[in-house]
């Protein structure tokens, strides 16, 4: 709180709607996400759960391929899954904040009558989930390196590529998450799981667990239309270095080209999500849904 206090006291941040909303909301989000009465539960949630879900995959893979975990395709699948943890966290993050505020904490009446940028507030609320998601991803990858010999050598990792692509990927995902959140805002009750559903559906079309090339070509195009596909691919390339050459997905694009595509996606999605958010908010106000609770 002290640090946040300092930052917020900087005059141009304090006077700027967007910045002070984002930072204060990030603080709030962190309080909520890290509010584990029991550190043990926190560990289970952010460490054991992701590892368990990857393990299921590992077991399935081993049964099918007779334990061929040395094959590059294993690293492909393993990393796709590990990175996808972040996708899920971000895409569902905004929807969860919307639902939490509206129905769990019931603070929407308070939040929508104060001078803040609610768009930036929702983005800020997502930061904590982003951090926890990142930790889960790192732990899962570390686990894979230790026990399944995922061939990541730190000297060979293309760090700039990894950081830039992940930054862009996160922005694009934030845009997607905001669109899901806006939908949630507009649709009363029972639509709470829309973000989860979308994250689940994307899993199959983005090359997270199998290269897109095994799909019929017309379904492949679904994957090409989703930024996650590009991020997963380029992040794997950055992590695995030469080992990634054998992966067929997007093979005809160079790293730089993929970065450009990803950048285009982030800009388009962020702009789109902003206008969609505005329209959703207006609709919600027309219908009287802002402070509606599903439970009555």
């Amino acid at each position: 709180m002290l640090l946040v206090n300092r930052i917020l006291d900087i005059s141009f941040i304090r006077r700027n709607h967007a910045m002070r909303s984002f930072i204060t909301a990030a603080w709030l989000g962190w309080q909520i996400e890290s509010n584990w009465a029991d550190p043990f539960l926190f560990a289970v949630y952010s460490i054991a759960r992701p590892i368990a879900s990857v393990m299921i995959l590992v077991v399935m893979y081993s049964v099918i391929t007779d334990s061929a975990t040395e094959e590059p395709i294993f690293a492909y699948i393993y990393l796709g899954n590990a990175l996808y943890i972040l996708v899920g966290m971000i895409i569902t993050g905004v929807s969860w904040a919307v639902i939490d505020d509206r129905e769990h904490y019931r603070t929407n009446k308070q939040l929508h009558t104060i001078p803040m940028s609610h768009f930036m507030y929702l983005m800020g609320r997502g930061v904590a989930r982003l951090i926890i998601g990142t930790i889960s991803v790192l732990i899962t990858i570390g686990f894979g390196m230790l026990f399944f010999k995922i061939p990541i050598t730190f000297q060979l990792v293309d760090w700039p590529l990894l950081l830039v692509s992940t930054g862009l990927g996160i922005l694009a995902l934030a845009g997607l998450g905001m669109i899901m959140g806006s939908l949630t805002m507009m649709l009363a009750r029972h639509f709470w799981s829309i973000g989860e559903a979308v994250a689940g559906a994307l899993y199959l079309f983005t090359g997270a667990i199998f290269p897109l090339d095994v799909l019929p070509s017309w379904i492949r195009w679904v994957g090409y239309g989703i930024p996650v596909t590009y991020w997963l691919e380029v992040a794997r390339r950055a992590l695995l270095g030469p080992d990634a050459i054998g992966f067929p997905t997007l093979a005809r694009f160079s790293n730089l080209e993929i970065i450009w595509i990803l950048g285009g996606f982030s800009v388009v999605l962020l702009v789109l999500s902003y206008f969609f958010y505005r329209w959703s908010l207006h609709t919600a106000k027309e219908k009287g849904l802002i402070d509606l609770e599903s439970s009555y």
Binding site: M1, N5, L8, D9, R14, R15, H17, R20, S21, T24, W27, L28, Q31, I32, N35, Y105, R106, T107, K109, Q110, H112, T113, I114, P115, M116, A188, H282, K285, E286, K287, G288, I290, D291, Y296
Partner: protein, 345 residues
């Protein structure tokens, strides 16, 4: 242009709720929550909106606080349009609902208030001073470090109340501020409101209530609202003056007997303006608004004819309750919401 000494100005504001969910035949599919409401509230006024449950009070407050858009008509807060100048309005207002016990339970009282002060763009030092001061005033300074989830309902309500005043707002919307509070807590809240208005003569408070006495005690002016329509807007004193030529009697009789036919009803006696009937343990209480004292003898004769005997008789000053009954034709404690469900939280 809107006159700039008005804190609130509305022109023919309508709000219609479309009902979702399964349609039942006997239900109306639309609810007209506000029906062409035109209202002016001046700066510095403590203005009350008085009406029964379901009258549309919360709906009007939500529109003014930029939570809800009017279906038609326009509303201005401090000269700014609620539909197009929300951000400007939000710098100047705050809103607190009574019975509002919601909040981020995992934060402490201080953290929660700090957070809102930050959203308002207050500096940390100013925020801390104001938080400490307000907590002191409402008497929960010792709970600063308590988590909200550990507070009793009443204390949470107080904390939310403090939140509403933390930004030194120009206009405060208080939706039923004493709802659910016990007598002494309600008195404290009213005292706080009065004091705050005393310290901030330029500021405006719009409060809603369905307690007559509260409206009478607090408000400079008030509007009586029922079924989405404003029925009268005036100071409590002037409203009561309207009935001054009339006299109010309270009779307790026993038994009143079965409901008589139309021409046999007390209302049919010339000079009787309003009658309300309440059953109590001792018998039946009749509140009568009569055009003149003499009419009472006609009423008594009528009652004798019906076989009722008089247990008690009292002549009293007109209250806001009487004004309301006179305007609406029934008492305030009758629920008039269109649907059986209570949609107000």
């Amino acid at each position: 242009m809107v006159e700039n000494n008005l804190a609130v100005h509305t022109e023919d504001v309508m709000r219609i709720y479309k009902l979702r969910g399964p349609k039942r035949k006997e239900d109306p599919r639309e609810i007209i929550a506000l029906d062409e409401v035109s209202l002016d509230i001046r700066r510095g006024e403590l203005f009350g909106l008085l009406g029964p449950n379901g009258a549309g009070k919360t709906t009007l407050i939500k529109i003014l606080a930029t939570l809800l858009l009017p279906t038609s008509g326009t509303a201005y807060v401090n000269g700014k349009n609620v539909a197009t100048e929300m951000r400007e309005i939000r710098h100047e207002i705050s809103m607190v609902s009574g019975g509002e016990t919601s909040g981020y339970g995992l934060l402490t009282v201080e953290e929660n208030l700090w957070m809102f002060a930050r959203f308002y763009g207050l500096e940390s030092k100013a925020a801390r001073l104001r938080i400490d001061h307000l907590l002191e005033v409402v008497g929960i300074a010792d709970r600063k470090r308590t988590k909200i989830s550990d507070l009793s309902t009443g204390l949470r309500q107080k904390m939310n109340f403090v939140r509403g005043f933390i930004s030194d707002p120009k206009i405060v919307f208080l939706d039923e501020p004493t709802l659910g509070l016990d007598v002494s807590a309600a008195r404290e809240v009213r005292a706080f409101i009065m004091n705050w208005m005393g310290d901030h003569p330029e500021s405006t408070i719009l409060l809603t209530t369905h307690y007559m006495a509260e409206a009478d005690e607090l408000c400079d002016r008030l509007a009586i609202i029922d079924k989405g329509k404003l029925l009268a807007v005036d100071s409590p004193r002037n409203l009561k003056h309207r009935l001054n030529q009339d006299v109010v009697f309270q009779l307790t009789v026993e038994p009143l007997g079965p409901r008589p036919s139309r021409e046999e009803m007390i209302e049919s006696i010339p000079g009787v303006r309003q009658v309300t009937v309440t059953e109590v343990a001792e018998g039946t209480v009749l509140q009568l608004i009569l055009q003149a004292d003499e009419i009472l003898s006609d009423v008594l004769a009528h009652l004798t004819r019906r076989g009722s005997s008089l247990i008690a008789l009292e002549k009293r000053e007109a209250t806001l309750e009487d004004v309301f009954i006179d305007l609406v034709g029934r008492g305030l404690d009758v629920d008039t919401s269109h649907t059986a469900e209570d949609r107000d939280e």
